[in-house]
Symmetry: D2
Subunit: 348 residues, 4 copies
């Protein structure tokens, strides 16, 4: 199998570092570019001490022309807003790009403008594949640009998509009560992620329908169901580093229970190297997927009230970001989809 | 102000220990009985090392006659099922009792039988006041037996009751997605609370409408609204020791928004020494109430979907158990309701 | 008992907030000034959400003349270096001050200059009492300025002082391996205290004899022993919010074992409202003192090697800062030393 | 490269589960036996939920004859005391065994008897290689039984061995103040590892020279130095799941500083796939090695007191147990020493 030379842009943040961890173990990859901005020129082992003694050299500066020569594919782990131009530039040089930012995820320019304002690359965004392999495998294979989904949309969409696709959910505004570990907020320190005010505390944030992952979830569920979908998405911060648990509450159509939902999901995800559908009524735990590219999905019906609880658990930095990007990369390059991603969760 | 002699039964578990911490600071209380079962005969300072050098003597065995002589009021911090008989015995000896178990919370014998099976004291249960002072202050004052609410019902009911009482919520099965710290599971070690499998993990438990706090919430909301209420209650375990955040999703009637809900709650809880209603859209944090008898309540409308998020945050061991018991005790004994409970949260 | 009007300077940091929590419960105190700098003008309940609904009003700006009128005593919870001038100014206006910074702790100007450089108030520093009540009770009572000790020196000195005073330790460079919760680093976010890089990590910092608490420990042990003392002090960061455990390793003189050390410490701390000496060989736990002004001290001899392990556990924000300041304040004002500080640890 | 068929005994505990995680990714291994005792007959994916959907089948019962046929090599992850007989039985059937228990670590029968009492296999113990590859590579290669070191001895010995071997440390009783994450206590719940009493608490345990890892450290340092060594080993429990930091305090001989110690360690560990020696004065963090088979080692001199601080950080379940076992296995089977172990730490 031919080797792919890979560039990582934004390699010193959490998703960039996680990509490095994964790609250094990938049998068909050679990481040729470790690019950062604020930390450029510093030793990689100093910026990412877990790599001290494993990876030598300095964090490189961004230079599109150099990268286009030294690498075959680029992963962009840049902040929303900063990614668009750089991705466009690399795309213009003929490089396939896997973009982990939000800049290319929303296809409708109006929706993108409403939630993000800026719009650096509307034409390019129309061409991007949405990098959720379990739903859009073929599009990813043939795309030159993959917009890798956000962590919340991945955890939320995986349990819901099979039911929306099968048309077994009543039309009604959907509630998704989601919980995320703190690493989702990134590497830049702030009050919200200061240890002493985070540990032993639990809270919601960006309530009132204001979290930008909302339209991403709506877009995907609309695509698979063919209908407009409205989601009330409420994120919470869990005093732990990694992991997302999304608890979605839906009204199933008559006759649909947890067993039937489980069947639909198992049929949908058969053969997936990443998604595992638990027994009906089981409760996934983020610890069981931590450090892995696994998603645990489950369904539970409350017979007293008729609500169907659809849960998805992932590691936000792996299946919710960097692992999923590698999964898309494998499809793009014709490798087996799970290559370099077979590892089980780190437990405990 | 006259002094009350107090007995604590089950003093070595988490709620018992928390009661001791609070009552030792209460200006009108003398704790005369520290009673345990499995740890009887051991030094108090060995069983509860935080009290070493503060409280001397051994954990006492249970003896109703002795306790009826040495104490004026009893707090029972016993497991569900074990409390009923003991409370009945002390009640028979003329002692006012504050019971922290579930044995006297559900008034309808059929509902009690359905959720708990055993029924040691049906007549007595009919006489018990439900110890949520903000809603049932007068009944608590004149009752000889107070059934102190569970932690989840307190966190869930406080934000919802003003809206149900005012009739501004649509009839529909309600979703309460609740999150609890691990101390709610008590002092007995088990797989579910083993450190290495709890920290850095997040999961739901007792899903499918099976958690026994469900009928308690339904009972209270029905009492204040005069209508039957059905709740889908889904508890989650947060990797932290103390705190509950309940996120309830309701459909408000036309014209009801977060500002109006906030007004209703502020009117309802005016003068309360415990409940604080945040500004509309604010997000309570369990860390802000930890160690205190405070409840933080807030309301947020998602204008895109029409869902009204009603949140309540408490410390499960204080406002969700022992602090609330002291609050009820103050009412029962004619002390100012907040006596001994004025402390702010331990932050950070 | 007469009421004392109190000003808190730097009230919005962790030690300031903890002082507020304690003083609001103090029966002889009225807090008349809540002063901050970076947060001046903001609502107290917004800056310290645990006080929302308890304390109204805004964070005040610093104004020495106003404070001297409205308060009888000031507590300064300011950063090292910033405290000196302000304390001198209030002292000049005749106000007794309890200073929680390091600016007045080291008596020898040369030692102060060596470790801190700046020296805003050398004369005043010579007059300050060192606020460790268990060792310097009388000096604190009659002092107009109390330099409240640092958290590490308190945890380290309490177990060692009785042995140094009794002359039962061999002269030799002492090793103190100390461990602190993260709140010791204060409220300003930084890489070192970012949740995702703190939880599930453990590390030393400021090694090589560079931590500024070193000379404070040496000064106190020299004072009680009458000999020069050299300490190798190595702090570590524990992924928890509160608590310090100091493990000091000393060579006892012939015939001195853990039982004898325990006797000496119990004799020294008899009647103390704060220090509890555990049985020989017992291991204190920071959780047993969290949220309280308690110090747990213990001694263990390793008979195979002759090392005597002397341990002290405190809550860094209470006995290691704000609680100890209140203890000094009580002495200064003639109140019972433990007033407002009797509470047991918050456990669990 | 030929494939090795591997049996894991005690596969459902923490070290067994970690071995499975590692060996499932090892390119030259096929795991043919997943054996447990208390969980035999249960589905692997139920007992180890992280493996659900990855490994099918049930946990097998122990059967020496069957295992000798189906596997080429056995890893024993059994409790101390339980391992001896089983290892002897498999050894008798001609199977190379990597034993993670303490049963074969101490070579001197008197020392073994003193610390462990039982002695199931004295002759076999004399033949076992001590599985610390960095020190005893050749013995491991040619041994039929490898006694894989404990977690504390690995973290403690790696920084100390180069200095003891070079004879640059003064003879004197050594202090090792070590800190471990909670997973070291295993999967069986207990008071010591109950979440609510572990998080936010820090404490020592097994003080007074009583921890059984003491003689292991002394044995290794004696072997490399040719002199008897006495260690005062004091373990502490850190509220985190994985990681050990050992802080050893030694008196260096004249002229030996951190730079020289660093040189000696770098020379000793040159070419090691696991040990990385940090710059003089740097502080290793357990988070930087978590989930990896890496050890970070560093040296810091306190010039004021002359103490040399020697630190080692590892993941107790990887380099302190299962990863080290795989490293030994690679030597035993002639694979490259780092095969299947190249992964960087999971960070953050």
């Amino acid at each position: 199998m031919s080797l792919t030379r890979v560039a990582i842009l934004g390699a010193t943040g959490y998703t960039g570092a996680e990509l490095l961890r994964l790609l250094l173990q990938h049998p068909h990859v050679r990481v040729t570019e470790i690019v950062g901005q604020s930390k450029a020129g510093q030793k990689i082992g100093a910026v990412l001490p877990g790599l001290a003694g494993i990876v030598s050299g300095d964090v490189a500066t961004y230079d599109a022309a150099r990268i286009a020569k030294s690498a075959d594919v680029a992963f962009a782990c840049l902040p929303h807003g900063a990614s668009g131009k750089i991705v466009a530039e690399l795309h213009g040089l003929g490089m396939p790009v896997l973009d982990l930012s939000a800049d290319f995820r929303l296809r409708d320019p109006k929706v993108h403008a409403e939630w993000y304002g800026h719009d650096d690359a509307p034409e390019l965004r129309a061409k991007a594949a949405y990098g959720l392999p379990e739903l859009f495998r073929d599009a990813i294979r043939s795309s030159a640009l993959v917009a890798v989904p956000g962590c919340f949309p991945t955890a939320s969409t995986l349990p819901l998509a099979p039911l929306f696709e099968a048309g077994v959910i009543e039309d009604a505004p959907l509630v998704i009560d989601a919980k995320s570990g703190v690493s989702g907020a990134g590497r830049v320190p702030g009050e919200r992620t200061h240890f002493a005010e985070t540990t032993e505390g639990f809270r919601a944030y960006k309530t009132g329908g204001s979290h930008r992952h909302t339209p991403e979830i709506e877009q995907t569920l609309a695509r698979v169901s063919g209908r407009e979908v409205r989601v009330s998405f409420v994120p919470h911060l869990v005093p732990m580093t990694r992991g997302i648990l999304a608890s979605a509450y839906v009204r199933p159509k008559a006759g649909i229970d947890a067993a039937r939902a489980t069947e639909l999901a198992r049929a949908k995800y058969e053969g997936s190297p990443s998604v595992h559908v638990l027994e009906p009524g089981a409760c996934p735990d983020t610890l069981w997927v931590r450090g892995s590219n696994r998603a645990h999905v489950s369904y539970t019906l409350d017979p007293r009230t008729g609500w169907l609880l659809c849960q998805g658990a992932i590691d936000n930095l792996v299946k919710g970001a960097s692992g999923q990007a590698v999964q898309c990369f494998n499809l793009l390059r014709g490798y087996d989809e799970g290559t370099g991603l077979g590892g089980a969760a780190m437990w405990p």
